[in-house]
Symmetry: D3
Subunit: 266 residues, 6 copies
Amino acid sequence: MLKRLLLTGAAGGLGRAIRPHLARFAETVRVSDIADLGAVAPHEEAVRCDLSDAAAVRDLVAGCDGIVHLGGISVEDKFSKIVGANIVGLYNLYEAARAEGQPRILFASSNHTIGFYRQDEHLDAAAPLRPDGLYGVSKCFGEALARMYFEKFGQETALVRIGSCMEKPTNYRMLSTWMSYEDFLALIGCIFRAPRLGCPVIWGVSDNDTRWWDNSAVSYLGWRPRDNAERFRAELEASLPRPAPDAPMALYQGGQFTQDPIFEEK
Amino acid sequence: MLKRLLLTGAAGGLGRAIRPHLARFAETVRVSDIADLGAVAPHEEAVRCDLSDAAAVRDLVAGCDGIVHLGGISVEDKFSKIVGANIVGLYNLYEAARAEGQPRILFASSNHTIGFYRQDEHLDAAAPLRPDGLYGVSKCFGEALARMYFEKFGQETALVRIGSCMEKPTNYRMLSTWMSYEDFLALIGCIFRAPRLGCPVIWGVSDNDTRWWDNSAVSYLGWRPRDNAERFRAELEASLPRPAPDAPMALYQGGQFTQDPIFEEK
Amino acid sequence: MLKRLLLTGAAGGLGRAIRPHLARFAETVRVSDIADLGAVAPHEEAVRCDLSDAAAVRDLVAGCDGIVHLGGISVEDKFSKIVGANIVGLYNLYEAARAEGQPRILFASSNHTIGFYRQDEHLDAAAPLRPDGLYGVSKCFGEALARMYFEKFGQETALVRIGSCMEKPTNYRMLSTWMSYEDFLALIGCIFRAPRLGCPVIWGVSDNDTRWWDNSAVSYLGWRPRDNAERFRAELEASLPRPAPDAPMALYQGGQFTQDPIFEEK
Amino acid sequence: MLKRLLLTGAAGGLGRAIRPHLARFAETVRVSDIADLGAVAPHEEAVRCDLSDAAAVRDLVAGCDGIVHLGGISVEDKFSKIVGANIVGLYNLYEAARAEGQPRILFASSNHTIGFYRQDEHLDAAAPLRPDGLYGVSKCFGEALARMYFEKFGQETALVRIGSCMEKPTNYRMLSTWMSYEDFLALIGCIFRAPRLGCPVIWGVSDNDTRWWDNSAVSYLGWRPRDNAERFRAELEASLPRPAPDAPMALYQGGQFTQDPIFEEK
Amino acid sequence: MLKRLLLTGAAGGLGRAIRPHLARFAETVRVSDIADLGAVAPHEEAVRCDLSDAAAVRDLVAGCDGIVHLGGISVEDKFSKIVGANIVGLYNLYEAARAEGQPRILFASSNHTIGFYRQDEHLDAAAPLRPDGLYGVSKCFGEALARMYFEKFGQETALVRIGSCMEKPTNYRMLSTWMSYEDFLALIGCIFRAPRLGCPVIWGVSDNDTRWWDNSAVSYLGWRPRDNAERFRAELEASLPRPAPDAPMALYQGGQFTQDPIFEEK
Amino acid sequence: MLKRLLLTGAAGGLGRAIRPHLARFAETVRVSDIADLGAVAPHEEAVRCDLSDAAAVRDLVAGCDGIVHLGGISVEDKFSKIVGANIVGLYNLYEAARAEGQPRILFASSNHTIGFYRQDEHLDAAAPLRPDGLYGVSKCFGEALARMYFEKFGQETALVRIGSCMEKPTNYRMLSTWMSYEDFLALIGCIFRAPRLGCPVIWGVSDNDTRWWDNSAVSYLGWRPRDNAERFRAELEASLPRPAPDAPMALYQGGQFTQDPIFEEK
């Protein structure tokens, strides 16, 4: 479908999980990270790159007609680190894309942009932001930046607010937030296949019984997740005690992140 | 899951139907009614109780960590009877719960809180109340009382607006309002299993083709009803004439209740 | 305009304040209370009446073509007293009205039906109820009862959620909730003058700078309050310390009522 | 179910496709068109009729207890032709129905009433109209006319905004707009079976993965489309190039119609 | 401000009232009607024109840079007359405008597009249409036609839903619907002065105490009506009995129009 | 009212305009900027400070019980400069406030957070963000950061989306966006006077006839702007040509900012 798909953050947990499957979508997959990228498959190109280096990012993006941007910091951290990777790094990526033919971008945003909603609230994409930490705030920045490049230059981006994309749910909250790798891969397919994408917010979550988020505004993309975290419930209940109703894990959509302190700078 | 679940109204129609299945949810089931409770199973405790007797209600609630409250008047009746059972009785129940550790409550509210909406209207939980008789008004009172105990004291309640919970639909309106016993039992499970419940309105209805009510606001509970009244349509059409478009049975969501007179007090 | 206007609760604080002015609206004003009614003006009829006595209420209503219903309990109290005056008493009033030609009713509901909203929230009439005590719950009952009589029998009622109808504001919260007597009298005029009233919720509040409530849904009534609590601010600030941001007085629309205990029955 | 169902536009593409299946719904099917109607089945009556002839239309409608109105112009055309068939013709049909017992009507409206929404927008029935040509404007007229006959005379109509009702999708846009014949027939059944119909807008579209339209407001009709255009995707992708993101076919819900010129009159 | 403003319907009641004041807005005012236009002022050009004559309409529009379109039928009438003047005539006007440089248009739409809403309902511009007769349906057509020319060709139109634009209110309903001539003239000024108009619905009503309609969506036009029908209330009450609550005059926003029959064609 | 109010950006255009008036609100006014602060009044303290210096910002905030934060970059600029002043600088301010007793903050956000809405759109505070440049994106970041500190730590902030706060409007767009100094000062008073502020979005605009923005959600603050840009219209029209309907100045709420390029880094 695509000529060359760029995957950033390819050495991270989620990057490693989806990397082997991206050949479905592109002839060549350019994998990138600041960390070691391991063995390179025949259809792959590996590029070590620090996102805060604007010139390097421009080289990275050149020649690609699609980008899955998982790169940057993906948990709470010191603000200086978040600024470099998620704020300056994202600006570098969009400037590179603007210069290099505006390849369509999947931006890995996060549920931590809205983490302070309670778990008994049902959200659609228009819910005002309520980030739960500096990491979440950096993702709000990213969504705003992408929107500006869309309005001003026509750059299309899918703003995927990823819940918990993992092998399987590992705590009670993830029964609501889990997204299977296979559902995420199907979503990637929908995003790059759509004749017109625009710049929508998409909730990155499987068809879990206890989901909180409503994707009907993006029905035009045709994504119908097939997995359901419910099948892991018995296993989970056998191994973990149920959280108290007022534990952050049970109270807020962002779970434990809402309790993270602001990290000291040094 | 629970230590001791209290079922009020256990001798009523719905109470009798679900009572045998409650052992799924609790080690002990305390069944209660003002009427005779019949034979008592090994996992059950039977307690005769008049809900208008505050002291008796407190004893009834003591030791329970969950309550399914079906007790009280469930059809149109004289106001004096409704006041005793559904207004004073409910106050007694909430006061008892407040004193006895705030067990989670499933309150059997009713579609008759909104019975004057037309059948061609689609409702979610935020639709303003339109009760269709004194019974419906008493359920509006109950929802308001439960909400106040939630806001003021943190008491959690599921406000289940039951449609028609019966063996099967017995008129055309019930093709829309029917809830199977099995779906109701699954809902009970979801309500007591949720780490956090809050005080939501839940439409108590199966996945009927011709349903009117939208439960997406409570997707976090994970209830997915499996039954569908449509499979009884042929049988129903063979035995009953279709109502006229302006018959109350076809016009209002509350059906015939909208036509009930105010009962004389004598 | 009217032949005979019934004022219930005429011996209460608000009743005494507006009573002398009701001759603007009716040839005869029938004043009523359970308490002593004092001197009777030439255009007045005084009737002592206990609202929990159905037969007495029917006599009270007979011959009236308009009712301003301020009667009943207007603060937090024991539930048994609230049931008698605000629940059974209100039912008696509506049954009497149904039998006696359905005079239009102004029902004094209360901001305590929604007292648990925060003071930084802006409400219109469709906001779901959040009563702040048993008194507020009884007013929710009253609104539901009035709505049912409207849907079922066509009885028109204005559901006036009174803020603080007093000579002047006496605490900071009342800078938002105050309604002047003159504005209330103007509202009474609009309600009885309208060719068609229906059964609307109306926020009973002056044009205060710091108001929380939106009456645009009832613009058809033509009520434009003229007073503004702001003119009392300087006086108030000179005499009272500002409440802390998290004091109930500053946090909740219902103010101190949200902190009232449930009154003991004995 | 019905005694006599009138099908107008029976010689058009959609009319020919559904005509053989209408015996499911009625003892007699009266088929009509301005063009030749071909062979007539035993359960059919064939009537040639010009919709702009009021008297002929009245005869056509007489004796029918249901109407599926596909007649008139169904693509962009000269305004004079649209006026005759879709404006005067529709008025004639409603006047005939008013005189002949108000048979329930299915009016074939069109997605071209809202064709200027973008394909990345999700619509429900309350979205303001945005017609994409004179044909679409004539369908807006038809919806308004039907609504007026409903409000004023109680005439019930289903306003079915047909997407693309064809054997199968033949371009990328139809992956979103396609409605299978079988789903349309099921919808016809729901419309004539409902005890009460009212005058709702219904999106005529199958359960396509990439649909844009939300029918939840008409859940009371019980229509659950079973087909999905997605199964034709591979075939389509093999034969047609993907449209550019800013091609009208990819940009607007009305597709190419948004580009049609106004037809010259002579 | 304008070079040449075209006023159609200049011989009608509203046309005659505003005609003398249009010199505020344009150097030349071209007045037109199918009827006699009376004496012509120095700044005026008078053109007799039948709107159903396309060529004549094109000549009429040529050279104008603004149009106030009051022409056509403005009350309930035979459909054939409405089709000629309000449907074909409007199409002719928009085709002429398209050919002649797209002068901005003020289209006199009507409250009869929504006449079946009740008088106790508050409407904004997004309320679905509920026309109250064939006249109202023709105005729905006009709004849809104007919207299509805006979306397709960029033609700007103000869709002014005129209430009752008269010297003064002459019945109780007009206390809500009245628009003074001076307020209408101010609105004309706002419409032609705005740098960008778009194609908005505007409620044509003064700042009446008992108004039903909300213009906040068009605040960008800067129209602040100054008149208020309330000052005529006393005079009206002295001369006319109040309507019954269920009289169409008191029940529906469209008033008596909701009761008009469909006019016979011959 | 306050003991010590900090004004950042005191040497900027807006800072210089309001600085002389801040003595109304506080005993001491601490004025700060990276640039020279000029003469210091008796009630003032002047502190030179670079917002990107965390330690200096902490000292700056210490001892203040209110902050009006106008500091940082206030027009489009190179991203590296925006990051330092508006992103890192803002983080420093909030960290300082968290450490120093959480003084209430007025954050000067901007209409450029939503600059890509059209001028014929009416917005309330819930409208999704549509920033028009890097500057606008940095203000989106600031709103998100403030919201996070509110949810997580209870820090109160007024997010004032300033339109054009100047002596008077200097182009047509400012007839809609202008806020007078006096109205801004009144708003500052409301913000620091409110017993409870929360973290609301406030549109910083006078009561201009042609305003686009709706502040009803913050009616609880009691701000009623008194000025109106309309009084400058004649002067403006005499000196400036009207913009074309599709000029960015007339099309977008953000005006010319929507056309600014991304600034080159070197």
